[in-house]
Structures are given as structure tokens and as C-alpha cells.
Symmetry: C2
Subunit: 209 residues, 2 copies
């Protein structure tokens, strides 16, 4: 599993000529960092006198951000598996008509996976953006900047994951799935960007001396 | 060294109640991921027929992105050290006047480091944004989305690192250093955001079927 290798090794493999890990895995890890930072804001704030009134809210946010942190970290490996299955499909034999039909089906299955996985990643990142908003509103001022970093990471992760949907969806024969995936993503990205800019501005305002 | 721990462990420590690693280290790792993805685009493109004319340019970009990848990964630990030195300064005794003067000096030195390190991180991330622009212009179409992910990571990393400058600079007694750091950062962030949006748009345009 990619998330078990060291950061230095991950960075080295990301930089290498190999196709995986690539942008899709980097997106998932960025999203997981966003979720982790939301958890951190909650962990520091819970129990603090200044955050007493929001304790239940902060605990609810933390429960979700911890689930998303683990989910997004696992998605780095799912992204690699999806890419590999698509590459394997392209390499299938295409001699006979039976071969060709089998290969075409495998490519479509691979494309579907390579669209669905980053779409799921973007959805999870949008949830992190929403949690970062709540953490930035109720969290302890001393760690509020971490909610700001978290929201930027989650938004960039969503927009990064989206690129793989934009690459793979056009070649899908299931036009309904392709078009609804892209449409959902466009709405989601617009919301994420507006919301993350609002959260970043709120954090900067709270940091003013 | 933080970059030697596994991604899962880094995420867990990021999420924990401990102050470090926090947003500053996450910013450095995000920036390093951006640099790594620029390197990947160059590594895949160099040697490809379609990128022959840009080979020298791609090699020059890769040399810089690899230097920045290693530099930014190391900055994750520097950020922790800067934060720890500031926290240690706050904990110094403040009984006598001599104690107080020594503590005040140590706090100022800590604040200076906790401003200079994230400022350096933001500068390095701005360089990654510039390299991602060149990689997106000359890189192989098959990996162009990775330049898009790289530029988003680098821009978010710069804006994330900036938050620590905004936190620490106001308490600096050296007003010249404080104000010039913030002013430099504001210019740098404006440029980074405009440039990264332009690169992301270029990448999306190149991905159109």
C-alpha cells in the first residue's frame, strides 16, 4: 500500500518516470492531509474553555474528518489500481474479433473505474471543505490556521482529482454515466472553490492581530 | 526526520492533538509533491519524439524541480524546529529582570525563525508554480494533468505557508523585517494564484478531447 511508504520515498516515486503514483494519488494524499488538519483543529479545541459551547459540534466534525482521512489515504492505492487496470486493458491482444470485443469491454470497465475513483475522491474532498468550514468557525484560535491549510489542501485535491475524470469520461461509451459524472463534478468544484476561499478569508480575518 | 516516516504515520501525527507536525509541515510536503509532479512530467516527456524541441528546457526544469523537491521535503522538519524553538522560548523562566530580558530575546529569535522558514517555503513554492507553467507548456500531453496537479499543490502550499508568516510577523520587534516579509509574501501570493489558475486552465484546455 502506497500510504505505508515513507514521504521521501513517495515523493521520489511521484517524481519518477513511472506513471503511478501520479497526480491521482497525490490528490488523494492532499485530501487526506486536509482531513487530518481538520481533525487536529478539533483535537486541540475539544476540552478548551473557549470552545466549550461547540464541543458536540467539534466532536461530530472530528468523527467525520477521521473517517475521511482514512478513506482518502486508501484512495491513493485505489487510484493506482484503477490506472493499472486501464493500462492492462489497453495491452490485451487485439488479433481476432473475439479479442477485440473482449479488449473493448475491458477498456470500458477500466475507464469506468478510472472515472469513478477520482469522482469519489473529489466528493470526499468536498466533504473535507465543508468540515474545514465548521472547524474554522468553532475551533480554537491558536490552531485556526490549520483549518486554513486544511481547506486549501482539500480544494486543490478536489480540483486535482477532477482532472482524471475530465481525461477518462470522454472515452466512456456509457454517455449517461460520463456526462452525469462531469456535471456533478463541475457543480462540486465551483462550490468547493467559493467555499474554500471564504474559509481562507475567515481564517485570515481571525488571525489579524 | 519527519519526511522519513510513512504517509499513514504522518497523517496520524498531523491529525493528533500535538502542535507539530501542523499546517507548516503540511505546506512543505504539499509543495514537495508539486515539485515531484513537475519532475515526473519532465521525466516522462524527455526522450519523447513530440517533446524533442523542448528537451533542453525540460531538462533545465527538471534540475530545478528536483532541487526544490528535496529542499521542500527538508523544510517540513525545519518548520517543526522553528515552532519548537519558539515554544521553548515562551517556557523560559521570567522571574528576574535578567530572566525576562533573556526570554524576550529568545522569543524574538524564535519568532524570526518561525517567520523566515515559512517565507522561504512560500518562495520555493512560487518557483514550483513557475516550473509547472513551463512543464505544462512543453510537457507530453499524456502527463499534462500532472502539471495541473503540481501547480495546484504548489499554490496551496504557498498560501498555507503564508499563514504562519501572518501569525508570527506582527509580534516581531524588528518591524522592517516583519513588514518587508509580509509585503513580499502578498506580492508573491497574488502572482502565484493568478499564475496557477492560468496553468490549470491551460491544462484543462489541453485535455479537451
Amino acid at each position: 500500500m502506497i500510504a505505508q511508504c515513507s514521504i521521501d520515498e513517495f515523493l521520489q516515486r511521484l517524481a519518477s518516470v513511472d506513471a503511478t503514483p501520479g497526480g491521482g494519488s497525490a490528490a488523494a494524499i492532499m485530501g487526506a492531509m486536509g482531513a487530518a488538519l481538520v481533525s487536529m483543529v478539533c483535537n486541540v479545541s475539544i476540552g478548551k474553555k473557549a470552545c466549550e459551547a461547540a464541543e458536540q459540534e467539534l466532536k461530530a466534525v472530528r468523527a467525520q474528518s477521521e473517517t475521511l482521512r482514512l478513506r482518502l489515504a486508501a484512495m491513493a492505492a485505489e487510484d493506482i489500481a484503477a490506472f493499472d487496470s486501464l493500462m492492462a486493458a489497453y495491452k490485451l491482444p487485439k488479433e481476432s474479433d473475439v479479442d477485440k470485443a473482449r479488449r473493448a469491454d475491458a477498456i470500458q470497465a477500466g475507464l469506468r473505474l478510472a472515472t469513478a475513483v477520482p469522482l469519489d475522491c473529489a466528493r470526499a474532498c468536498a466533504q473535507v471543505v465543508e468540515l474545514a468550514r465548521r472547524a474554522s468557525e468553532h475551533g480554537y484560535r491558536g490552531v485556526i490556521s490549520d483549518a486554513g491549510v486544511g481547506v486549501l489542501a482539500a480544494n486543490s485535491a478536489a480540483r486535482s482529482a477532477a482532472l482524471n475524470v475530465f481525461i477518462n469520461a470522454p472515452a466512456l461509451k456509457d454517455r449517461h454515466f460520463a456526462q452525469s459524472s462531469v456535471a456533478e463534478l463541475e457543480t462540486l468544484l465551483s462550490w468547493c472553490t467559493l467555499e474554500s476561499e471564504a474559509v481562507y478569508a475567515l481564517v485570515r480575518k481571525k488571525l489579524e492581530p
